[in-house]
């Protein structure tokens, strides 16, 4: 499972401040802490507070690239910002993200190919958030079709069913889990799957418990990757255990430690 650390994001106060004051140390230690906790890649977002993401995102990318070689997940809804991030990156990259809108796909797919970047495609378009499984599958099919046509390797494509908060769209969560499994039935070769985990508990109490419970269900549905807080130890322990139960790793009494020794 590809674990993408979510903590370098301008919506967090410490990162917003570090970004404003160009304080490398805060950003870099946040990167290293996440890697130490098991992040395989790091999400990089300057968040809504940034007045100039075209400059802020490349700065974050360079600063993080100074301390780790892990892949960076360039997080912005604006293709120009992504393009600036890609230019600045020495690390492998994942574009986060494109929607299923054709005009956006036509910009980001060539960009991903040019920079040999992976790409997250969210099952959403300008008409809004899908309300059921069929709409999600239709949007994913559109992304897969465009990717296939442009010669983008489908195994480098991560499809996101778009997770809704449990206290907003409780009736949709089962659909979302089923979508994770069914995304892989749309095409062959199939794309991979990713979720932004923390969305599930947005605005709720007991966030960590909700996150790890949902993650277990998603992993059992065949999830390949998640954007999450790797510093949540109980969450990581739950993930390692879920993968163990699914026979992804060989059991031993110290399996948690064994996973972290990889």
């Amino acid at each position: 499972m590809l674990i993408i650390g979510e903590l370098i994001n301008g919506m967090y106060a410490n990162i917003a401040l570090a970004l404003k004051e160009r304080d490398k140390k805060v950003i870099q230690s946040c990167a290293l802490e996440q890697v130490a906790c098991g992040a395989d890649a790091l999400d990089i977002s300057c968040g809504p507070a940034s007045k100039n993401p075209l400059i802020d995102l490349p700065w974050l990318v360079e600063v993080v690239g100074e301390v780790t070689d892990k892949p960076l997940c360039l997080d912005s809804s604006k293709p120009q910002v992504i393009a600036e991030g890609l230019k600045a990156a020495k690390n492998p990259t994942i574009i986060n993200s494109t929607t299923a809108d054709i005009e956006k796909l036509q910009i980001l797919l060539p960009l991903a190919k040019q920079y040999k970047s992976k790409l997250i495609g969210i099952a959403i378009d300008s008409k809004g958030i899908p309300q059921n499984k069929d709409q999600r599958l239709e949007l994913a099919a559109r992304i897969l079709e465009q990717a296939g046509q442009s010669g983008f390797a489908l195994e480098d494509l991560y499809l996101d069913p778009i997770v809704m908060p449990v206290n907003v769209a409780q009736n949709q969560i089962r659909d979302i889990l089923e979508t994770i499994a069914e995304f892989k039935m749309i095409s062959s070769p199939h794309g991979k799957t990713v979720i932004g985990l923390s969305n599930i508990s947005q605005g709720a109490k007991n966030r960590s418990l909700i996150n790890r419970t949902f993650l277990t269900m998603a992993v059992a549905s065949g999830l390949d990757s998640a954007i999450l807080d790797p510093k949540d130890k109980e969450l990581m322990d739950t993930l390692i255990t879920a993968e163990l139960i699914l026979n992804k790793n060989i059991y031993c009494d110290s399996y948690l430690e064994a996973y972290r020794k990889r």
Binding site: N249, I250, Y251, C252, D253, S254, E257, A258, K261, R262
Partner: protein, 312 residues
Amino acid sequence: METQLVLEKWPGSISVVTIGAKTAEGGSRSQTVQIGGQTALPLMFKEGVMPNRPKIAFEIWDIAPVDFEQELMTAYGRAINDPFTWAQVCVDEFKADLICLKMQGTHPDFGDRSPQEAAKFVSKFLNQIKVPLIITGSGDNAKDNLVLPACSEAAKGERCLIGSAVQDNYKTLVASVLADGHSIIAESPIDINIAKQLNILISDMGLSLERIVIDPTIGALGYGLEYAYSIMERARLAALSGDKTLACPFICFVGQEAWRVKEAKADGRQGIAWETLTATSLIQSGADILVMRHPKAAENVLWYTDGLFRGQ
């Protein structure tokens, strides 16, 4: 349409373990032996590399063997009564790359030699026999905990492979091996979960995973060989998929298992066949060191290995 072969590409690899140290490396061996380093399943040469062939280690005891079959006694003749001559014959006549010295004479029921005597014996052995050395205890845990540290110290700097550590008795041996610069055999009872756990316990004491050789415990042909085979295969699949805690080479004690079965006891030639077939099957499941008893069986396995690696 031509059928295309599907080739696996593995992210992991097996670690390389070196046995023996030459003078320049602080030892006194005439050569060193490397095992491991595979990047694919055994003999899948198109999928990855297998830089080191499986090696045969001749099993030698520190006393004249007491329960060996007549066929084995005959194969070595009078030499088998003296460990030094016995080992020298293995090196000179049978071209042994490695000797596996079993300190059977320290067992309470087989002479009960003291740790001091054992250490003296190992020093003398190292002086006379110059190929890299594997040293194993007599199998009596309490005694091994006294004997093996003494042997380890006597062989300091020679980069031996010493065993065996087991799940409920590993700390003493790990500490010695760590201090004296050797590698360790980690033995588990045909159980992949324990093999993995033991490797973690050993590495937690500071001995790196790259200095561990797994003894998965094997059964001879017809006596559980397939269980060992599948455990080894499963460990390899995990290791090649990236599980470093299982990415160690394997040592298989073939001779002692093959000559234990009634088919081998009934007929010497059948015994040779039994030892040969047990060893060649284990090569296919990933064995890196085969500890063997009969020189003819060893010769058969060498011939078989040459065939497998021809053109590589």
